[in-house]
Symmetry: D2
Subunit: 336 residues, 4 copies
């Protein structure tokens, strides 16, 4: 009962997921590959999935009878049509973020899935599968009492020149946007962005750092520092303050050393190392659900909510500290 998966998009992440399915996880194999650059697909086939068939287009791959489930790891702008095609074909589909490049696009996927009547889509928000966030959620539910405040930080050592202010939302905060909805089991109602002076390592088209303040329906106030030129490392911080106490996201494992008059431990510098274990877990979760013809984990609705929130945050970046309202339509029953 091995799940037969087709992968659309064989760039870095598509190749890595193929390796994961072929060499790490149980219960699935990659049987089809497609990429706009066919040589790339051929290379992945040769290296990792010698029995896979190559398809000229994602649409053909989705339609192929041997394909049970689909991974969409292609360029962002193509996500929406491929996911819609998979839903139309009734096949479970795992889609890397963003689900679509616009909130409207994400909403079309939600509507298609609701029309289909059963969940088929999982969005690649891997932090929900991180052991630290899972333990934090458990601590919040078991120990801290109802959450009131969240203090968070998302720090990168540096970003390329092409990284400009709105990318702090779309590429960086997007992970906090999703994971805090899940952590708090809540929705956002407003966003606000506050700026200190620009960091010396930033540049003219990037306000960095920035502090995004989100409010939720249940009245939780969240502040997230985004600092993508923090220099010292890749560092994700999260503290939840509840009625009875607080809980913090654990630091990544590191060896405590005493050397040269310093107690010291390593801080990661590459984001790819921070949640590396979560990719395995999220994909194993996809395989398990897809084997039953459905999907679990971050849904199309979550992808839509993230898109709406991102849009509000970007608007808030230009609103001089004013709060921007975040409104979602009623949540379809499929996603309760």
């Amino acid at each position: 009962m091995t799940l037969k998966i087709g992968v659309i998009g064989t760039g870095m992440i598509g190749r890595d997921h193929t390796r994961r399915i072929q060499q790490v996880l149980a219960g699935a194999e990659v049987v089809a590959l497609s990429d706009v650059n066919l040589a790339s697909a051929e290379s992945v086939r040769a290296d990792l999935a010698p029995n896979a068939k190559l398809y000229q287009t994602g649409e053909e791959l989705i339609a192929a009878p041997e394909v049970d489930a689909v991974l969409v790891t292609s360029w962002g702008a193509t996500h929406e049509p491929y996911v819609l095609a998979a839903v139309a074909a009734g096949k479970p589909v795992f889609c890397e973020k963003p689900l679509a490049t616009t909130a409207e696009g994400a909403r079309r996927i939600v509507e298609a899935e609701v029309a289909h009547g059963k969940r088929l889509v999982q969005v690649g928000f891997m932090r929900r599968y991180d052991a630290g966030y899972v333990a934090l959620k458990d601590a919040v539910q078991q120990h801290t009492g109802a959450p009131i405040l969240v203090h968070a930080a998302h720090r990168n050592p540096a970003v390329p020149e092409a990284y400009v202010t709105p990318m702090a939302i779309h590429d960086t905060l997007i992970h906090e946007i999703d994971v805090f909805r899940w952590l708090l089991d809540d929705d956002y109602v407003s966003a606000r962005v506050l700026y200190p002076r620009n960091a010396a390592r930033s540049h003219g088209k990037l306000r960095d750092p920035q502090v995004v303040v989100l409010e939720t329906k249940k009245g939780v106030l969240i502040d997230v520092e985004i600092f993508v030129n923090c220099h010292y490392g890749y560092d994700i911080q999260c503290e939840v303050v509840g009625e009875d106490g607080t809980a913090r996201l654990p630091e990544p494992m590191a060896i405590d050393m005493r050397l040269g008059a310093k107690r010291q431990s390593r801080i990661l510098t590459d984001w790819k190392d921070r949640f590396v274990a979560s990719y395995d877990v999220e994909l194993q979760d996809f395989i398990a659900a897809a084997a039953k013809g459905s999907a679990t984990g971050p849904s199309a609705w979550d992808g839509y909510a993230a898109a709406v929130t991102s849009d509000a945050c970007v608007q808030a970046q230009e609103s001089a500290g004013q709060a921007v309202a975040i409104e979602l339509p009623a949540r379809p029953a499929l996603y309760e």
Copy 2:
């Protein structure tokens, strides 16, 4: 060359400072006591300073020839006239916070001291003398690069019913207001207050917790959580984020224990224990400067700046998330 000190106000803090001078610190003795309740002064005399003389009024005590320096630990509303009288008498004076109950009152003290031409006033902002903050300031100056952000929290386990929203500024935030000006060597330009839902342990006249956001002249953005019904303990947190890295205020010393499936260490619950060592240091500092006829440490100008900032924060509490400007006149040369 023992410094002869007169203490005005012999309530809890006046008694405690008398004990400190008589039993802990070198170089001074309490020779005069005064209180609106003379029995209280008599009791302190009997217990701690048998050679001290009692005075009916603070004014008489200040005028007494045997008094070299004055401690004002009376009811807040009386601070201004006593400090003004001490300045008029040319005697060094240590005044517990607030320096005055209004910014205007604090300014009158500044003007009197400037007219006198030499520093005589030290305000009782003891956190500047805490070994943790001193080490943090050193870390910021030596290691983190120029500060850009400060994340802070000031948590009390509980407050009495009489504690209402503005007291979160006047009684609680006041310490952060002063210590961050000192820590950053900077001044504030605006304040903003944001609220999550009210904590279940709060009440109708107290918004709790609240997040105060301060901006400084140099462009540092500071967020301070004030949570006076946090239940779990008295907890002071401060993280500075600079160009090159971050530094945190140390936790109070506590024994790391492993018991009953928990790694655990005590958290303080009484604010009086948190900065207890700082009182000794601040008063020793006062004694050293007063012995030379002057004052160092937190100045009347610092007291005035704190009063102006507090007023802005209280106004911000009623301003629905809008920033309130903080403006100070030019700093007199005496305080450079």
Copy 3:
């Protein structure tokens, strides 16, 4: 190219490894099962490996042509003959500890494997695959300078009545014995056991705690506290002291909480949770090597060295603090 595995012994650990191969790891499947209690094997087949064939005896399973590689997870006394049979058949074999119940038995396996001329045996010392120990070894090799001392502790909350003094070596210290040889890349030359008074929760046939002192060829002195009635949790500690500094084994991930006047984080109480992730890694390692017809990781030689060391430690338990020599024959070239 799926590796076809036969599992001998379907108790708790055999069942768990079967689940791992069938549901978690890539590249292998369980095709044969055997147990002295055939109903147990049948139950594992039904639950986890419906396509597996049942065998009356381990010998038949080893001989079965569809079996590429063997897992020996049966009762300890049967390990030696099954491993010898697998080696005779030229099939890679993973054997849970102990490799044999006597040092002589382990040595017979070493001799058989040496005669075969290629590694086929992996012993189930899973700690070598723990991310914490791997990072510790890296820290020692990269940062601390050459090791001089190791301070370690192995604590269990409680043990059953049947647990007596020598089991502190055979069942408990055995893990440190192997992992420190690997961590230090060294061999032992002597063992010594020191006792404090007996813990109140221990009993007449169990000296608990005890401190085992091991010396290595390179001159490292290791002290290991074994305390199997420590009450508070399952806790594994290890600090290496080198020429230039120290490094410590990390604590298991835990959420730092502040609750009820205590900073606190959970300590595990069940040993099965402590190294749970390592079982996946060690078995994936076995699958990878077995797919190429060989074995890596902890070898038969390591199993033999552990057996010889254990024997010396048990003798040292009865030697009133005297050192007992540990001597190994020359290491066969196969294990360099």
Copy 4:
């Protein structure tokens, strides 16, 4: 009621205690000074105690009528006669360690004090006054259950060439010897010394590191690593393992920083910084008791017990891992 103190020996520590009494502590003043090098005494007088009288000999100082209490901070070999003289004069005396250079000498002081019938002697074991050890003792008494094991380390970054093996006991372990007797409220019955290979930074006349194993009357087993060329810092570690759990000595306060891909905090390198605050507390304790004509804190008996234990440890250094018995006569009632 200022206590009038005479200081014998005005080297580094005598000067520092004089500064402490004159400028830091309440309730005492230095009225007499003496040193074998009169110019040194004169310099301390000029800098710190202008009203003090100089004496040619310690004996004259002790006999001086204006001297209420005596500090012995002279060369070790002179401690015994000065302390005996002070006891004969019935004057409280604070004596830096060692109380005497031989156990017999310490015993003569004990006998003199017992004959006097009241405690007069405090030995300068300052660790008992360290806030960390005090908190650790409280944790052991309140939380861990009765102690069974102690794991400790005493590490120096480096020592001069003149430091040879026995000094690891007399100059280094001596602090642990005293503080553990106090911490555990117990006495030693045996000592054993174990050696790893010599550290590369050590030399031919110094075995370094070494592990001293002490056993107590109550059955506690203590291991202390002494490593005086550890290179990385001055580091004092202590973990107590009790029936119900463990407790550790806190680290000195340090700022947790994140810089250059490292989480880091400073480790002290100079032993003088580690227990600096304890000197104030021990001397304040001496002043308080001496003002009442007596002494508290570490007693002559404690000094004697430390001397006997040190002798056994030095013997154990030459005993190839054998335990050396430690025997004390019955404790005089004065020291119960």
